[in-house]
């Protein structure tokens, strides 16, 4: 075991923070900025549909002006795209407007649960990786899809814990465990983390990072909640790196059956 926390490495870039923040649903740009600051995040995702992509510094679509790109790696996302073609179109426009080649690929055509479309996501990932994007795809917790996206050259995989905004925590545990076991790229648990304990749980399981948005954005005090998530992510990661004691149902037997082997 190392005594220093290991850094998160995504596409040849190191991050001290393993908490990635979303920027939707906040009451104002200022409140969002203070929450990002408090979270210690070094990577933040922004919906391109909220941003000005016209290059005209539109003051009525100014979400990007609240994100200091010297401090944060900007991860534009394709939320709103319903298929690979729309996602690719949006990604290219976003690259022009933001100069970021990093991309959170999101294709969720169903507006209720916002569940990702596996077929279209893989298709888009294959195209966008070839075009030089660093692609971080949002996916259902599907281990085979995760491998396919890795093969396609994605920088991470981002399986969901439960539907976006649901605050239901990690309902896909068994599948995420398989994804983590088999992954050669960082695994980021994204969506559904409603409490710091959910984030800690993901980190204890061995996830490389988590992405949080709704739970912070709609909290009564977003900045403090961001701090709480930061602490939970650090605690969960430390526990994972140190190695948790296996869970046992009963206490150790006081009279071991094989004790006689040690007697002489």
């Amino acid at each position: 075991m190392t005594d220093k926390p290991r850094k998160l490495r995504v596409a040849n870039r190191d991050f001290n923070s393993r908490l990635i923040m979303g920027t939707g649903k906040f009451a104002s740009g200022e409140i969002m900025a203070s929450a990002l600051e408090a979270s210690g995040a070094e990577m933040v995702t922004v919906a391109l549909r909220r941003a000005d992509l016209s290059g005209q510094r539109d003051k009525f679509a100014n979400i990007l002006t609240f994100i200091d790109t010297k401090k944060y790696v900007l991860l534009p996302n394709t939320s709103g795209a319903r298929n690979a073609e729309e996602a690719c179109r949006l990604a290219r426009l976003g690259r022009e407007a933001t100069a970021s080649t990093w991309l959170k690929l999101e294709i969720h055509p169903d507006p209720r649960y916002l569940l990702p479309d596996a077929v279209e996501t893989l298709k888009a990932a294959e195209i966008l990786v070839k075009e030089g994007f660093t692609v971080l795809p949002y996916i259902n917790a599907d281990p085979v899809l995760a491998k396919r996206l890795e093969d396609a050259g994605c920088a991470t995989v981002m399986p969901l814990g439960s539907p976006i905004g649901s605050a239901r925590g990690i309902e896909t545990r068994a599948s995420i465990e398989i994804i983590i076991e088999q992954a050669t790229v960082p695994v980021v648990v994204d969506a559904g983390l409603g409490a710091p304990s959910h984030a800690a749980e993901a980190m204890e399981m061995g996830a490389d990072a988590v992405l949080v948005n709704t739970a912070v954005a709609v909290a009564a005090d977003p900045a403090r909640m961001a701090e709480a998530f930061k602490a939970a992510v650090e605690a969960g990661r430390a526990a994972y790196e140190i190695g948790l004691a296996p869970k046992r149902k009963e206490a150790d037997a006081t009279s071991p059956l094989t004790g006689f082997l040690n007697e002489r």
């Binding site: 939707g24 906040f26 009451a27 740009g29 549909r49 909220r50 949006l90 426009l93």
Partner: protein, 403 residues
């Protein structure tokens, strides 16, 4: 199967009876079930939530809290802004409640695409990035080609363009979608066939089923956002709410990729002196909004400037997700476009107004209805910020609307 047949098989009489007579225990059970399961609530539970019993202070407060939580979770602390732009008030329908009704001797005009662009520029300067083009129904003055031209003209400057126009065939919608339109709004007005028939005296709008199936045709043509609603005040609102909820539930399954929005416009004074047949109180409107949110956590709820500033401010935390502001409900209302071609229409022909038209700056086409919230968009935005909500002007991207 379309929604028309589903509406026919809906146990409306039973649900309506339950919506009138549900007990406090029914309301409590419905609320408890909606919180416990996280699943879609049943039609009977929805009926309980809109009952007089649920309007009691303790229940309506519980519903409001639940609605608030669900709205925050799904939409966050944001309100999406949009502006209606009336492009024409010509109409061939005779509808008893509408200011644009064919036989009303009002000043009419259809803006040219250039004039539409000029009005839109004004709205853009105010901050709007989502626009709703509104027109009466008149195949001669408001043709498919005309609508397509208007959309094409605005597409480059507007991340989101929706239309509220007379129902068309799927094939007629396709070029409009391809020109860059994202959403289609069509209110059934009333889901009560008898009242519908009495209100819509003549014109193509008389065909209830044709209008009812419009959202499905629009979805088939490629529209991504569908708006439905009922004009509250024509038939008892509880019946409208039950049918509207059934319609929403159907569309969410059938048109599963569409973003759905629901509007509940209450009748406002308009030309023709029509008065609501079945008025709805503020308390009942609040109940309606909360019940819809609890039933459909992911559906956008739209609030127009028909309602007063006070009521609008108070409805924001209760479940509303989209608002207009500073609206005009007459073509040319923002910048006076089309003033020189104002006319009266008789037998489909434009004639010079016989009335002594006052040659003043104030001359304009007749409004569809009076608005109640006269604050400017900037004032409404500032008020939302005070209330702890971010006014979101842009939440879509035109590139997503390209064919």
């Amino acid at each position: 199967m379309s929604f028309a047949s589903e509406l026919n098989s809906l146990a409306l009489a039973e649900l309506s009876h339950f919506a009138q007579n549900a007990t406090a225990a029914d309301v409590e059970a419905a609320l408890a079930r909606s919180e416990a399961s996280g699943k879609r609530i049943s039609a009977a539970d929805f009926a309980a939530l809109i009952s007089p019993a649920a309007a009691q202070p303790q229940y309506i407060e519980a519903m409001a809290q639940r609605s608030h939580d669900l709205t925050l979770r799904h939409f966050g602390r944001v309100i999406r802004f949009f502006a209606p732009l009336y492009v024409s008030n010509e109409c061939i329908n005779v509808c008893k409640y509408c200011g644009f009704s064919r036989d009303n001797p009002i000043l009419r005009v259809t803006l040219t695409a250039d004039q539409v662009a000029a009005e839109a520029r004004y709205l853009r300067d105010q901050g709007f990035r989502h626009i709703l083009l509104v027109a009466g129904e008149h195949p001669h003055f408001i043709s498919d080609d005309y609508l397509r031209d208007c959309v094409a003209r605005l597409h480059g400057d507007w991340p989101s363009i929706s239309l509220e126009i007379g129902p068309l065939e799927t094939a007629q919608y396709v070029p409009i979608v391809q020109a860059g339109a994202e959403g289609l709004v069509v209110y059934q007005e009333t889901y009560d066939r008898g009242v519908y028939d009495a209100m819509h005296v003549s014109g193509p709008k008389k065909d209830f089923g044709w209008r009812l199936e419009t959202p499905e045709r629009a979805y088939a043509a490629g529209f991504k956002r569908l708006g439905i609603g009922a004009l509250l005040g024509l038939a008892p609102w509880r019946n409208e709410a039950i049918a509207l909820a059934a319609h929403a539930g159907y569309l969410l399954k059938k048109c599963w990729m569409a973003q759905l929005t629901i509007s509940a416009p209450r009748l406002r004074p308009a030309a023709g002196e029509f008065r609501p047949l079945a008025p709805m109180s503020d308390r009942e409107l609040v109940q309606f909004v909360c019940a819809m949110r609890i039933a459909f956590p992911e559906v956008g709820l739209v609030l127009s400037t028909r309602e007063s500033a006070m009521l609008r401010d108070n409805l924001v935390p209760l479940g509303i997700t989209m608002m207009s502001a500073g609206s005009h409900t007459e073509p040319g209302g923002y910048t006076g476009q089309g003033r020189e071609t104002l006319h009266v229409t008789k037998g489909g022909r434009m004639i010079k107004p016989e009335l002594p038209v006052i040659e003043s700056e104030g001359e304009h086409a007749t409004v569809q209805f009076e608005i109640a919230d006269n604050r400017s968009p900037a004032e409404v935005a500032a008020r939302l910020e005070q209330l702890g909500y971010e006014p979101v002007w842009k939440d879509w991207e035109g590139a997503l609307n390209e064919a």
